[in-house]
């Protein structure tokens, strides 16, 4: 990631050499988009990270198709029988007879070739399949939370920043209030009682959507503050004044002038929020207050895998934790690359 930041460095200690001005002799129309791409491509880790993420999204989206094609099995199907005696495979001979956790590469009769690529858990379910389906839950939570945060944060932040006075004050008090709520403790309470809320439709109660909605509504405050600050400073800029003087409507100014200029913090902040949401969902599931079983999630698998690993069966923990870390790491690298590409002058992130 050093390369992307080099520009910033060259500017600072010796601004007097004024590279920017001396380039003027051959003025080619370089769009912001071109500039953004050039900078992002230079950020090697961000490029690798986006590759990983695209692959992950494709695999996760294709999971049901892969299942019907027989490449992976059902996330809740048992490949190994409870008692470890009969059914359609050879029970593993482990020193603890009650556990049917097969190591990676162990091959049950009658299942797909990839079935035990990552081994199986103690209920005899294939870890490989469950890691892929766990990705569905994690990415759903990440993207839906990111979407809600981007939407709420942008709307509330831009309205507050554009209409100073009573509107701004009341919206910001509300934002402060939401920001003041301790995220994890409150999320734990909601995660605990979510399945018991009988009045909610089951797609909220049982799937990752409920957690995503919860995290989204709890974590838009930071972005709203950033967008508001951006709007406040944009209000003073000449081009917004000029647009206003030219008689542009408020809506036009917000959407055509102010919002595009506030875009980079929105994109960067939203990317980072996706990573944070995935981590928190995993933590909730790890504690047992996240997406309820039998839906596989990486957090719940890590908790279960941890208990198995105590007895030496390390694979469920290893593969679910690796999937989680690689995903979050990729998102954070992408966020870093986007920050460098969108705003190379920004050296420090505050608040």
């Amino acid at each position: 990631m050093s390369k992307g930041k080099f520009i910033t460095d060259a500017e600072e200690p010796s601004e007097s050499i004024a590279l920017g001005e001396s380039e003027g002799i051959a003025v080619e129309p370089i769009t912001q988009w071109d500039l953004f791409w050039t900078r992002l491509r230079r950020h090697r880790l961000a490029m690798i990270a986006s590759g990983v993420l695209v692959l992950l999204v494709l695999v996760v989206l294709a999971a049901p198709m892969m299942q019907s094609a027989g490449w992976i099995d059902s996330p809740v199907e048992r490949l190994v029988d409870d008692g470890g005696r009969t059914l359609r495979n050879i029970a593993p001979r482990l020193n603890d007879g009650t556990i049917n956790s097969l190591p990676p590469g162990g091959e049950p009769v009658d299942a797909s070739a990839t079935a035990l690529l990552f081994g199986s858990d103690d209920l005899g379910r294939g870890v490989f399949t469950r890691v892929i389906y766990g990705g569905r839950a994690s990415l759903t939570v990440g993207f839906v939370t990111g979407f809600i945060v981007a939407l709420l944060g942008t709307i509330i932040g831009s309205i507050a920043g554009y209409y100073p006075g009573a509107v701004d004050q009341s919206l910001m008090r509300f934002t402060d209030l939401v920001l003041g709520l301790p995220l994890l403790p409150v999320a734990i309470v909601v995660g605990r009682i979510l399945p018991e809320m009988s009045f909610l439709p089951s797609w909220i109660k049982q799937g990752p959507m409920g957690i995503a909605l919860l995290l989204g509504f709890l974590s838009w405050g930071g972005l709203a503050r950033i967008v508001r600050a951006e709007f406040l400073s944009l209000r003073e800029k000449e081009f917004v004044e000029a647009a206003r003087a030219a008689g542009a409507s408020d809506r036009r100014i917000i959407f055509r002038h102010a919002l595009p200029n506030a875009m980079s913090p929105i994109i960067v902040q939203t990317t980072l929020t996706v990573g944070i949401a995935i981590v928190i969902e995993a933590a909730l599931s790890f504690l047992g207050f996240g997406v309820p079983p039998p839906t596989p999630t990486w957090g719940a698998m890590a908790a279960e895998g941890g208990r198995l690993a105590v007895r030496g069966f390390w694979w469920e923990l290893f593969f679910s934790a690796s999937a989680l870390v690689i995903t979050v790491l990729s998102i954070n690298f992408l966020g870093d690359g986007l920050r460098d590409a969108l705003d190379p002058t920004q050296t420090i992130e505050r608040k």
Binding site: I17, L19, E21, S22
Partner: protein
Amino acid sequence: MSEPLLVVDDLRTYFSTEEGIVRAVDGISFTMEPGQRLGVVGESGSGKSVTALSVMGLIEPPAGEIVTGRILFKGQNLLELDEDQMQEVRGGQIAMIFQDPMTALNPVYTIGDQLMETILLHQDVSRSEAREIAIQAIEDVQIPNASQRMMDYPHQYSGGMRQRIMIAMGLSCNPDLLIADEPTTALDVTTQAQIMDLMLQLAEDRGTAVMLITHDLGVVAGFCDDVHVMYAGGIVESGSIDDIYYNPQHPYTWGLLGSMTRLDDAQRKRLHSVRGAPPSVIDLPKGCRFRPRCDFATEICGEVLPALRDVGNPGQRAACHHAEELDLKSMTAGEETQEPAVSEGASS
């Protein structure tokens, strides 16, 4: 004649960036006498600030590097000094004032703290003596209530006041040379002249030589004895103020003069501007660096980089192949050429 105060000999300071090597200062030589007031004029990126930073030893590797050259200060090559010896010179014998007074002072220490720090560093005095010197220095730059204002923080001072403090700090150790890098550019016009007058008066009282770096020929005209005009990392013309003003030998100088408003001009004519923009100091054109913007360029200008040589009045030097043929002083810039002037090329 006494030993010169400062001799810069074939100084080359390069910066390495992603796009390539930036030849910010590319082979400049000049001499300064004790007490001299020297103006260094040029557009942004001409290398004038980098020259100053090179003399101060403030070029930081690995980004920037002094590739070749000698900087003799009172006969001693500054480039051969180690860091400890250089610290003695910096602030003690050569002081520097920067462009933006709003950010040049440390926000978390009081003015008194920062002034006394310099004094204690370079003079063998006690704290209370240093305090006296600092108060005197603040009074010298005409800030009333000095002992009270010692305890104030920079943010409690206005921009002009802060630049006065910077001057006080620079001169507090009676340096032999004061380098002022665009000291008034960030200030409003009414303050500019006051600050310049004050700085030069104080320097004269102490016999301090001043190197004034600016993009403004007008400022130089008012305050300096001699001028170097820099363009794209090199000196293109040097001489006394009068030589440069009334007998310019280099088309660039001539162009710059044409772009100035002059009150002594009887005829009201259109302001001229040097067309085009300065070249990138990464991709310097072959031959004369000013050629792409020059109205008088010929074939040789595209081949050979002209050296600085004696032309015009005694002591005047310029780097132009055609200096003798061109009678620039009788021409008025802007009327010679038909091309419309490009506005952004002029002084920035």
